[in-house]
């Protein structure tokens, strides 16, 4: 293991100390617990939006706490859910009487804890909480049948869900409307990833999985969950073709549709390679008559030092475009009005 750390046990608290020290005007913790992070920029009367999850994915999750996006985030150890108690502390801090929306990824540990926190908020604090669980990784499961729970993992596409819900909340919409905005983004976003090398969890000390020098795994999750296919490394274009096809066939697309594209590096893949990938995405979408309304390229949801990337597409209408266009200012992500 080769990392810039002091000790594996102190990795997360020391990372958090660094983040609070770097952004003292924007972020603070609740009750002295570094794992409960909230924005310093409160907007009176606004619906609060909280997220949370394990560490190891920066800028996900805490990086999206700030103006125009989220109000708070509870932070777990590497790839481990934070506790319901920590989620509750964040909830209490960000509630301004308009209720709180939880947006988080579709993982059992997170679901159980957020559900428990929502019950505590209701029983102990009389705070109304609604939840939207993002799960848009097309490689992780088949689409769920009507009435069945969604089994797909939540990955980089949650960025779009935060963005749309955050903009709706900043506009002053109520809890039901902000929840509907988040659900609309969820319904229109799809993601697929590829992994070229493993990450190493500091407390484990060795790579999470073995993958050959000349191999790639299409569809792998951001904690190293199995993908669709392990095979020989292909060219960027072939890889992109294989990733984009299931995204485009999962929801109906037609010529004239508009999308936002998110190319996301998993941690060890340079921007250069990500732009090579985007080039091919543009070619394919051009060929189908789908126009790209806005493009994001960079690191949005990583898996520590994993090499690889994911592609997310958000199918747009005027309402979603309006939310996507709204300005954002967080320590990790900034956007002017589009």
């Amino acid at each position: 293991m080769k990392k810039i750390i002091n000790t594996p046990e102190r990795f997360i608290p020391e990372m958090l100390e660094g983040i609070y020290a770097a952004h003292p005007d924007d972020l603070m913790c609740v009750n002295g617990d570094l794992h409960c992070l909230v924005t310093k920029h409160k907007q009176a009367g606004k619906v609060g939006i909280a997220t949370g999850g394990g560490s190891g994915h920066l800028p996900l999750f805490l990086g999206y706490v700030g103006k125009g996006m989220l109000d708070g985030c509870s932070i777990g150890d590497v790839f481990q859910s934070p506790s319901a108690e920590q989620m509750l502390a964040v909830t209490k801090e960000i509630d301004q009487g308009a209720g709180v929306l939880y947006i988080y990824g579709n993982y059992n540990g997170d679901i159980f804890n957020f559900d428990m926190a929502a019950e505590m908020a209701d029983m102990e604090e009389d705070i109304r909480v609604e939840s939207v669980v993002a799960g848009e990784d097309v490689a992780s499961a088949a689409p769920s049948a009507e009435g069945e729970p969604n089994k797909r993992r939540g990955v980089a596409g949650i960025f779009f869900v935060y963005k749309c819900a955050g903009a709706a909340a900043a506009e002053g919409r109520d809890l039901d409307q902000v929840k509907a905005a988040a659900e609309k983004a969820c319904a229109n976003v799809r993601t697929m990833g590829v992994a070229l090398s493993s990450c190493t969890v500091p407390r484990v000390g060795h790579p999470s999985f073995e993958i050959g020098e000349d191999e790639m795994e299409i569809g792998m999750g951001i904690h190293g969950e199995p993908g669709i296919r392990r095979g020989k490394l292909k060219t960027a274009d072939e890889m992109t073709d294989e990733m984009l096809e299931p995204i485009l066939s999962d929801i109906p697309y037609k010529a004239g549709d508009e999308v936002a594209v998110l190319i996301n590096g998993l941690g060890a893949t340079p921007l250069e390679e990500q732009y090579v990938m985007f080039r091919r995405v543009k070619q394919i979408l051009d060929g189908k008559g789908i126009s790209i309304w806005h493009t994001y390229v960079g690191e949005f949801a990583t898996s520590m030092e994993m090499a690889g990337a994911s592609i997310s597409l958000l199918r747009l209408d005027d309402e979603l475009k309006g939310w996507l266009a709204a300005p954002v200012d967080t320590p990790f992500f900034k956007q002017f009005q589009l």
Binding site: G76, Q80, S81, P82, S83, A84, E85, Q86, N108, G109, F112, N113, D115, M116, P149, E225, P226
Partner: protein, 198 residues
Amino acid sequence: MNAAELKGLLAAWAALMNEKKEWLIELDSVVGDSDLGLTMSDGFAAAAEAVSASDVTDVGKLAYQAGKAMATAVPSTMGTLMASGLMNAGKQLKGQEEAADADFFEAWYDGVQNRGKAQPGEKTFLDGMLPAVQALKAGKTPEETAEIAWSAFEGTKGMLAKHGRMAIRGEASRELLDPGAAVAALLMKGYAEYRGKQ
């Protein structure tokens, strides 16, 4: 079951989970991330510790406090599920200074089931726990109940997993014993040993 007995039981479970830590790690490492042994020993230790000095006589309130302490100490999947069981037992038994053992374990089962949304037969904790709850309700002794729970745990071999990492194995999961059901079997073993010593 009164508050003093619940405290004694939690201490007994903490000791047993600590003693069986390596065995649980071994069971879990086949498909999981092998943290189950640590989660259960740390979780029950935290639950027992949180109420050990309490003078609360309400069994429900005590169970709720113990559950919350466990949820805070071990927010992993299985940790949160066990905490949900204890907290639901707390909600259901609130206001009682003496509760029936069967009611306590039934509320625990319901709390886990509501949180995890699994059904019996899907190779989970529930498959070890349900026969035990039914046995207690039918008037079986703690010792008989513990034996029934242990056989039920062994009976998870052959079941098809529907949840968690084991489900990724598909048909191959039938070969495996379920670590969650092992926790249920240990709970009933600890319970029988505690009652036996009284």
